[in-house]
């Protein structure tokens, strides 16, 4: 699984296809670049299934940061995202016996977390959405004379998304965040969302179209000078 944006704790353990350049494996035991024993997700899951709570706590520490970032982008709410992350790990714990080790634990966990986030989005009342739209504030960009590329830093990306993501459906949000922001492959996004690759591409296409339209209306700073008028 290629996840270029995943957090540092998880990225080394997600990819089964990632070449082992620095780490090594002797007699089934993985070693890190400094010779320390590295437990992978499957080993910790097996220990957790046998009742080792500490092993599960390590899985939570390894994956909660990345899952939180994804869920926070889908929900456009940092605090609510932590609640969803906690619920996802609890649900995963309750269903641990049903986890199929042939699949990546991350994909399985992200599927649980994304589904919870989508359910939450659907349950939000229109009144809450209206309140949020009314209280949002315009992003203030530093150095308006500079080019858009030079201004586009990392926090800015999340701030802009937070203000525009309301125009997307829950499925479009999830697909766009997983694919465009987290860098998952189409097949992985399809697995997380439980739909076909074609549906994922369609969600991405529609999301990009809507975001492009909103960016032109609300953030003309990102348009070429000729289009700003």
């Amino acid at each position: 699984m290629v996840k270029e944006n995943l957090c540092v704790q998880s990225v080394a353990h997600i990819s089964h296809r990632r070449p082992q350049q620095e780490a090594g494996e002797i007699c089934g035991v993985s070693f890190g670049s400094r010779g320390e024993v590295v437990m992978n997700d499957l080993q910790w899951i097996q220990s957790a299934k046998n009742g080792d709570e500490d092993a599960y706590a390590k899985l939570v520490r390894r994956h909660s940061g990345g899952l939180h970032r994804t869920v926070a982008r889908i929900l456009a709410d940092d605090t609510e995202a932590w609640d969803v992350v906690q619920m996802a790990f609890l649900k995963a714990w309750q269903k641990l016996d049903r986890y199929n080790p042939r699949y990546s634990f991350t994909t399985w966990l992200y599927r649980i977390g994304t589904n919870l986030a989508i359910d939450l989005l659907r349950s939000r009342t229109s009144r809450e959405r209206a309140h949020k739209a009314g209280t949002e504030h315009r992003l203030r960009l530093v150095g308006t004379g500079e080019g858009a590329g030079a201004r586009a830093d990392s926090n800015e990306t999340d701030n802009v998304l937070q203000q525009l993501v309301g125009v997307l459906t829950p499925q479009q949000r999830s697909a766009f965040v997983l694919r465009e922001m987290e860098g998952l492959e189409t097949a992985e996004v399809a697995e997380v969302l439980g739909c076909s690759a074609t549906t994922v591409r369609n969600h991405i296409f529609q999301a990009r179209k809507a975001l492009r339209r909103e960016l032109r209306v609300r953030f003309p700073e990102y348009l070429p000078a000729s289009e700003r008028g």
């Binding site: 290629v2 709570e53 939180h68 714990w93 590329g149 766009f176 189409t186 990009r208 990102y222």
Partner: protein, 170 residues
């Protein structure tokens, strides 16, 4: 050289027709080359989101999440254990309560007077004197304070426990 290839790929990237390996290279170059980033954003503003950060999250928040999840798991486990153990005890207790209340009602109806209740009250006092006092334990778990109240001294598994959050404002 790379920048020329990058610009040719913008359309394919947006159309989702780029092979995954090339897509990965495109995204890396988008982040690393300010000139290409500038021109790409002019052509397709939504590429802004491909530069989202990979920040792993604050360690304190991750630790707080782990503590909360594990606390809840332990609580659920204890609750389910208590639930399983309590069931037969509850059935016996309910049956005993029915017999006692039925007996009291019958005696009241037949015999009448407060004197008939006296033996029951005395029996209850005797039982209270004979039973051992409940065992209470206090445990510090991270920032939490847990107060356990065990059913009796002989059974260290059956307990009700409370988690006291020190940050809670009363």
């Amino acid at each position: 050289m790379n920048c020329g290839i990058f610009r040719e790929m913008i359309g394919s990237y947006v159309d989702e027709t780029l092979e995954e390996g090339r897509r990965h290279w495109f995204r890396t170059h988008l982040r690393e080359c300010p000139t290409c980033r500038e021109s790409a954003l002019r052509e397709e503003p939504s590429l802004l989101f491909a530069m989202a950060p990979a920040a792993p999250g604050e360690p304190e928040e991750i630790e707080a999440c782990a503590v909360a999840v594990m606390g809840r798991i332990r609580q659920d486990r204890l609750e389910s254990r208590l639930h399983r153990r309590r069931r037969p005890w509850l059935a016996v207790a309910a049956a005993a309560a029915l017999v006692i209340s039925g007996g009291i009602a019958w005696r009241t109806m037949v015999g009448g007077g407060s004197g008939t209740l006296q033996p029951v009250v005395e029996a209850r006092r005797d039982a209270e004197l004979q039973s051992s006092p409940p065992t209470v334990e206090v445990e510090m778990a991270g920032e939490e304070v847990r107060v356990y109240q065990f059913a009796n001294e002989a059974d260290s598994d059956t307990a009700v426990y409370f988690i006291v959050d020190p940050a809670l404002e009363l």
